[in-house]
């Protein structure tokens, strides 16, 4: 087990394109780090540089206190699960998992013991003598994991390991990976596209954009205290709504009426002309369903609902609004970069599933103004970010995590003691 430190890592491909640009990231021993970002932002490239499959143009890669820039992959003792698994089709599942051990000339009895152990964890027993071609996607994925965990590697690296599985299997494997990582306590770097994986698996999440780190923080901090428009728009599903706003004293005028700001936030945005206010869908509610006690904490507004989507446990309403041309083009660029569908200037609003708000009618909504963020539309910077609150969230996540790891490992030891 080892920590991974990256200092000013740059990767320029042959054509001069900087796929990774000045990335500095510290991953603690035993930590589960997630790399997310839109397609082509350099996640895979970064991972491949850690494992040694890609040369580093400049910067230092330090694993377990040792600079590894010039070491071959096999000298780094990391294990990796490839996006497409890369199983050896001519070998049985057993030999696939045993492959790293065979290379290190481990004796037969030890190989059998370790492979059996890995197969136990991954429930691959009845498939050990089969060939990868005859396995299902989920089974192949587990074989790839088996090959990674059979060896005592310094760290695990995953490149979108679940991206080709169907939704159900993905959920199953996700919990599997999480459990495994906690139990083994091995430093893990995990690349993903998927919101859910990013939010549920990681201790910390690193958001990349065009080869540059935007923010590294716990999922909660990313969600509640994003540093900029990009992170705010990328994290969360359905995404955060961005409305044009003009400050007037302690309030912002938005298409949905005035939004009251507290002193601190009002001071942060003072003196600016045009702003973007970021509101998560769940900050809205059907006004008729809001508690009397909560009502004063937000503002009320009336708007015409374009479409509603009822999902059983949730309901979404789409509310169109007018925006100045400069904001519209800005938002369109952002949504293109985030790979989301063409953004029309409409807000997505989460309302209670019992709400009887109808499509095509006017309705009254309530907006919780306590947690809205205000962004500078040109730089994208979050003007109202509370760094301390964010740090507190990440701190809390770390404490939770330490507890979980302890529990998982105590549980394992307990089982071993019981078995002995």
């Amino acid at each position: 087990m080892a920590s991974i430190e990256m200092r000013n890592i740059v990767k320029q491909y042959g054509d001069g394109f900087p796929a990774v640009n000045d990335v500095s990231l510290d991953i603690a021993d035993g930590e589960f780090m997630i790399l997310v970002g839109p397609s082509g932002c350099g996640k895979s490239t970064l991972l491949r540089m850690i494992v040694g499959l890609e040369d580093i143009s400049s910067g230092d890669m330090v694993i377990g206190g040792k600079r590894v820039n010039d070491l071959a992959p096999r000298e780094r003792n990391l294990s990796m699960v490839f996006q497409n698994y890369a199983l050896y089709p001519h070998l049985t599942v057993f030999e696939n998992i045993a492959f790293p051990l065979r290379l290190s000339k481990t004796d037969d009895a030890e190989v059998r013991r370790r492979v059996t152990e890995a197969a136990d964890v991954l429930e691959l027993h009845e498939h050990l003598e089969r060939k990868p071609a005859n396995l299902s996607g989920g089974q192949r994925q587990r074989v790839a994991m088996g090959r990674a965990i059979v060896r005592h590697a310094e760290a695990f690296l995953f490149d979108e390991p679940l991206s080709n599985l169907d939704a159900k299997l993905r959920g199953q494997m996700r919990t599997e990976i999480s459990r495994l990582q906690r139990r083994l306590g091995i430093t893990t770097v995990y690349v993903t596209h998927d919101q859910t994986e990013a939010m549920t698996l990681g201790d910390r999440v690193c958001v990349l954009r065009k080869g540059k780190i935007q923010q590294v923080a716990s999922p909660r901090e990313l969600y509640e205290q994003p540093v900029n428009l990009f992170v705010a728009g990328f994290i969360g599903s359905p995404p955060m709504n961005f409305l044009p706003a003009r400050p007037e004293g302690n309030r912002l005028t938005t298409p949905f009426g005035p939004v009251e700001l507290d002193q601190k936030r009002a001071a942060a945005v003072a003196g600016r002309d045009l702003l973007l206010v970021g509101i998560r869908p769940e900050y809205f509610e059907d006004a008729s369903l809001v508690d009397e006690a909560k009502r004063p904490l937000g503002t009320l507004f009336r708007a015409r609902v374009d479409v509603t989507e009822w999902l059983g446990d949730q309901q979404y309403a789409y509310i169109p609004y007018e925006a100045p041309a400069e904001i519209t083009s800005q938002l369109r660029d952002l949504s293109r970069e985030l790979d989301s569908e063409e953004l029309r200037t409409q807000a997505i609003v989460s309302i209670d599933s019992t709400s009887r708000i109808r499509e095509g009618r006017e309705a009254e909504f309530w907006l919780d103004t306590r947690k809205v963020h205000v962004f500078d539309p040109t730089t994208g910077e979050n003007l109202t970010r509370d760094a301390e609150a964010g740090a507190r969230l990440t701190q809390m996540a770390e404490e939770d995590r330490a507890e979980q790891v302890q529990e998982a490992q105590a549980g394992m030891q307990g089982r071993h003691a019981g078995a002995a």
Partner: protein, 277 residues
């Protein structure tokens, strides 16, 4: 497919088979005809006889044919083996590495492949005589390599390109050296390509006539196709047609056997299951 269409496919298939196999059948039939029977104006021998076979295997032509058979086997197998090993390394480099002059190598290989054999035979004849390679196995193996290597490199690099590069990277991450990754992962996956290449290379060497007749003079190194041309009839007035036909049938057997033996190994889709999707 409608029945009518099916019928046409069968008719067409049978026509093609007859067209392709008729000469073979004719040779076989000829090989069973006695010398006096050759011109019987019929497809089948009047009375089938094994005379031609005994002539070439134990009779007068045997000291011409049997050493030639041994030479052909030895020379072709060695040439095929060397060509496979060399082309495996070359093709791997071509498929995997980006190095200056890659295009040049492939282009040269193609150039050598289409260079007419007959134009180098004479200079080679002189050269071999000077340096003592004339009428030796090595003297044939070297030109055979020039025939088989280009096509082997082309075939093999096509196969290597099909293997997902991640296989090899996975092996390296698992702790393999480049050589181990090549030997334990790439070579087994490229096996169908190696067998295909081996068969093609063997055919090319086995069928050569120009080098065989020009660069040998005795049974020390003379291969079968050259030996066939030297058969003579029992008398000056008798053509050795029957004996040649019998020899032709015999030299076809190893080739057919080779294909039947290896065709199970030339299965496409060995890389199935390597990667998802």
């Amino acid at each position: 497919m409608s029945t009518k269409e099916k019928t046409w496919w069968y008719v067409g298939g049978v026509a093609i088979i007859i067209y392709a196999l008729f000469p073979v059948a004719w040779i076989v039939s000829l090989s069973f005809k006695a010398p006096s029977d050759i011109a019987n104006k019929g497809f089948l021998p009047t009375s089938p006889t094994g005379e031609n076979y005994s002539t070439i295997l134990t009779g007068t032509a045997s000291d011409l044919f049997l050493p030639a058979l041994r030479n052909s086997f030895g020379i072709c197998l060695i040439a095929t083996f060397i060509s496979c090993v060399l082309s495996m390394f070359a093709a791997y480099a071509i498929a995997r590495l980006d190095f200056p002059g890659k295009k040049l190598i492939l282009g040269t290989a193609l150039g050598v492949a289409i260079f007419p054999v007959i134009s180098i035979v004479t200079p080679l004849f002189n050269l071999w005589r000077q340096i003592g390679l004339y009428d030796t196995w090595l003297g044939l193996i070297i030109p055979y390599l020039s025939l088989t290597l280009p096509i082997s490199i082309w075939t093999m690099s096509a196969f290597f390109r099909e293997i997902p590069w991640e296989m090899e990277q996975a092996a390296q991450v698992d702790g393999a050296t480049t050589w181990q990754a090549f030997r334990k992962v790439i070579v087994p996956l490229a096996a169908p390509g190696v067998f295909t290449t081996a068969i093609i290379a063997f055919f090319i060497a086995w069928n050569d006539f120009a080098y065989g007749i020009s660069l040998t003079s005795t049974s020390v190194a003379r291969p079968v196709p050259a030996a066939l041309g030297l058969f003579s009839g029992a008398s000056q007035f008798e053509d050795p047609t029957g004996a040649i036909a019998a020899a032709a049938v015999i030299v076809t057997i190893p080739v057919v056997a080779l294909v039947l033996l290896f065709q199970r190994r030339i299965v496409a889709g060995l890389t199935n299951g390597a990667v998802k999707g």
